[in-house]
């Protein structure tokens, strides 16, 4: 591994990026929902580096910046949503606990470098001509592009005491039930580990997963992966909500990445929640939701708007004129998507969505293989995704146009605190 210290690299460029801000940046930082994250980094000795954390959405000029890797929570959850995704689920092939731990440490080291915009290992060129380079090189010269790498542990990791983790499976890491209408493909579901790579440059996100897969060969194997583009929900409420592949704004009411109270209540696992190792972490549900694009496109406008409960132009809820006005649920049809997904319809159940659109070409029948790669973070799957999805699967009029074809659930550990810390330390030690 290279001795290059990503923190110092971050600090170096941070000084430039924040030259005009000074103390303002730091205040902005403390106001940010991930304040705990920032404080965690500060406690760990990070100084200028933490000033990189920006409370504003990705403004022009910030696109190439590095998001701090160290903190109380993992980056990539409350972090303002980047434009692109490469998500990968892995099966663990090794039976050796020590080897798995070694891999997690190697992954952490690589993630630390890549999120700082640096190549892994000894780099992409200049080594022995007879040997393949450590880094595959396709991200050389590209900026950090706000790359975040977020790891999760699937139920399989705890099964049958494979790695001496008997009894450490969090109670809220439940196997998801078969919801009505699910048509799940095993080769696009599950996984012992997952890594979510988000970046503003697709090549940076793809590179990151590719390196981790390569480092992991023999110890883990990619089970499935998904590319995503065009973030479909925003954790930055002052930004316009992006449109999904159906042309609608969906996810307007998402939890804001700056709303610390809401994050603590609905997203971060608390100290008394049952599994101490997961405190400061979260739970992730990933669903590949295929859209029947062609039939949707033949649906009359009024019906489309009724199905969502919003108008197509502005995105305003039924009876309102602006996107962010409080929806009046009873004005919507009983099967309207927004009405059924709303916390008020689900006893307050609230999740943080981070989904992306996907288009994987066509499906052999000439139909666009497209839809929503849904990612939801929550404090407890049983109180977050499950009740909401039960309600939607049963009643949502949108179901005629979508099908859930992939599914996975993961426990997402807390953040890597400092340069000596590693992904999964709280679970394995």
């Amino acid at each position: 591994m290279s001795e290059a210290d990503p923190e110092s690299v971050q600090s170096g460029s941070a000084a430039t990026a924040d030259a005009s801000g000074g103390g303002t940046s730091r205040r902005a930082l403390l106001a940010w929902g991930g304040a705990g994250l920032a404080l965690g980094a500060a406690a760990a000795g990070g100084t200028a580096a933490i000033l990189r954390q920006n409370s504003e959405p990705a403004a022009p000029g910030t696109m190439g910046m590095a998001v701090p890797f160290h903190g109380e929570h993992q980056a990539g959850i409350a972090t303002p949503v980047q434009d692109r995704l490469h998500f990968a689920a892995f099966d663990v092939k090794t039976k050796d606990r020590a080897e798995l731990i070694k891999l997690l440490k190697e992954w952490t080291a690589a993630a630390r470098l890549m999120t700082a915009g640096l190549p892994v290992g000894e780099g992409g060129f200049g080594g022995l001509p007879e040997a393949p380079p450590d880094d595959t090189g396709e991200a050389l010269g590209l900026k950090a592009s706000r790359l975040t790498l977020t790891i999760g542990f699937g139920p399989g990791l705890f099964a049958g005491d494979r790695f001496g983790l008997n009894g450490r499976r969090p109670v809220a890491l439940v196997d998801l039930e078969q919801f009505p209408g699910d048509n799940l493909d095993a080769s696009r579901s599950g996984g012992d580990l997952c890594v979510q790579a988000c970046a503003d440059d697709p090549q940076v996100a793809v590179h990151a997963i590719r390196q981790l897969a390569r480092i992991g060969f023999g110890k883990v194997a990619v089970r499935w992966s998904q590319l995503g583009f065009g973030k479909t929900s925003s954790t930055t409420p002052d930004e316009q909500t992006p449109r999904n592949m159906m042309g609608f704004k969906d996810g307007t009411r998402n939890i804001s990445g700056t709303d610390k109270a809401a994050l603590d209540k609905h997203v971060w696992v608390g100290a008394g929640d049952g599994s101490d190792w997961l405190t400061g972490g979260s739970y992730l549900v990933a669903r590949r939701i295929r859209m029947h694009i062609e039939t949707w496109d033949r649906t009359p406008l009024q019906e489309q708007e009724d199905i969502f409960g919003r108008d197509k132009g502005e995105g305003a809820p039924v009876g309102k004129s602006k996107e962010r006005e409080e929806p009046f649920l009873k004005a919507m049809k009983p099967e309207a998507h927004v009405r059924l997904a709303h916390p008020d319809t689900n006893d307050g159940a609230t999740i943080l969505r981070r989904g992306y659109s996907f288009t994987d070409g066509t499906d052999g029948l000439g139909r666009l293989d497209a839809g929503l790669f849904f990612l939801a973070y929550q404090r407890d799957v049983r109180k977050g995704f499950i009740p909401i999805q039960r309600n939607l699967a049963k009643n949502d009029s949108l179901n005629e146009y979508i099908q859930h074809v992939g599914s996975a659930v993961f426990a997402v550990p807390p953040g890597v605190r400092d340069k000596d810390d590693w992904w999964g330390r709280t679970l394995f030690t």
Binding site: D91, E130, A131, P132, S187, R214, F217, G218, K219, A221
Partner: protein, 379 residues
């Protein structure tokens, strides 16, 4: 594929061999660069101007004063080729530039391009090139013997197959198909380095160039499994395969082999598995892919076994990893054969998608560390 395999071998050889073309190399009379070695060849002699020269980048100028076409080889003591220049016509000159490390060598002129040639012992000295490692030389020599033995064993195995085809016995030919390929598959990167043989013996239908006749194993495979019949054309193709394999056997001893080309060849064997076998593309009619798979792994394991003493010294952790991964892949392959010493494998169309994924993961697990073997032996 064959030509790229050859250039990969050359690139990996670590010996920058620059062989000038017959026309381009013609030197002005006595316009020879300073320090160049002069070799004067005739029909009965091979005179070398200096038998002791500084190691490093060496230029050798050959003048053929004889009446026959000749060639010049620079050989390691075990007959491995450092550099060569063929087709030097009577009365013409040629030159060879090669990176020659300190050590002992032989120059061989071959008037009429036949036999062992007229030999002269020479010595490269000094620090101009790194010293050769006797340990690695031994590994290369042992691998050369292995490659030769594989080609020798292939002759009767191929004949069993082609005899059955000539006899019109479809069942017997099917039985003999996979084992006729074993020696070739074990040494595939070397076998493929003969760019003219591989397209005749091992090409698949989709690999044919316009105007190229489809010959070799896979052409016969299609007749046997897809058409289930043998005609006169197939019988002629069987004899053609015998001829081509005999040619391979004749020439395989002259292949350029270096420690790094061995190591990268082992990785290429796994690449073969990863590209063509795991997908079921290679033996798409017979579905005997797993027999080829096993042979590729065996060939790679042989290379590793020979390079292991050096690997352990230079990168102990890599050696440990490779030990474990070879065991893992062999254990995985054993699941698909009833008899652990035989080569009767499950037909590949009976291998499920899930099992193919497991095999593919196993190949990645071995090939990734194997790609680091060349660097470990080059240290």
């Amino acid at each position: 594929m064959s030509s790229s395999a050859r250039s990969a071998l050359l690139a990996a050889a670590g010996l920058a061999i620059v062989t000038a073309t017959a026309t381009g190399c013609a030197q002005k009379s006595d316009g020879s660069p300073a320090g160049a070695l002069q070799v004067t060849a005739s029909d009965s002699a091979c005179e070398v101007s200096k038998t002791d020269f500084p190691a490093g980048k060496v230029t050798i100028q050959v003048e053929n004063k004889g009446s026959k076409v000749t060639e010049l080889y620079v050989l390691f003591p075990d007959d491995r080729i450092v550099a060569e220049r063929e087709n030097i016509g009577p009365g013409t000159k040629a030159s060879i530039t090669a990176e020659i490390k300190a050590g002992e060598y032989e120059f061989a002129c071959k008037p009429g391009m036949k036999g062992d040639g007229i030999r002269t012992k020479v010595k490269a000295t000094g620090n101009g090139g790194e010293k050769r490692s006797p340990e690695l030389d031994a590994a290369v020599a042992a691998y050369r013997s292995y490659v030769l033995a594989q080609a020798e064993e292939s002759l009767p195995a191929v004949k069993t197959f082609t005899d059955a085809v000539r006899a019109g016995d479809v069942e017997a030919a099917k039985q003999a198909f996979a084992s006729s390929r074993r020696g070739w598959e074990r040494t595939e990167p070397v076998a493929e380095s003969f760019g003219d043989i591989d397209p005749k013996t091992d090409v698949r239908e989709d690999g044919l160039e316009p105007g190229q006749n489809w010959t070799g194993w896979h052409r016969l495979e299609k007749s046997l499994w897809a058409d289930n019949k043998i005609g006169d054309e197939e019988k002629a193709l069987a004899s053609q395969l015998d001829t081509d394999i005999a040619e391979w056997h004749k020439r395989v001893g002259t292949a350029e082999i270096t420690p790094t080309s061995m190591a990268n060849g082992a990785k290429e064997l796994l690449d073969e598995v990863s590209r063509n076998k795991v997908t079921g593309e290679e033996d798409r009619y017979s579905h005997t892919d797993l027999a080829d798979f096993k042979a590729n792994v065996e060939g790679a394991e042989k290379v590793y076994e020979l390079l292991k003493p050096v690997t352990v010294k230079n990168d102990a952790e890599l050696a440990k990893n490779l030990d474990a991964q070879f065991i893992a892949i062999n254990t995985l392959l054993d699941k698909y054969r009833a008899d652990k010493t035989g080569y009767d494998f499950t037909v590949y169309d009976k291998v499920t998608e899930e099992q193919r994924k497991e095999l593919s993961d196993g190949v990645n697990a071995l090939a990734e560390p194997l790609s680091k073997l060349a660097a470990a032996v080059a240290k």
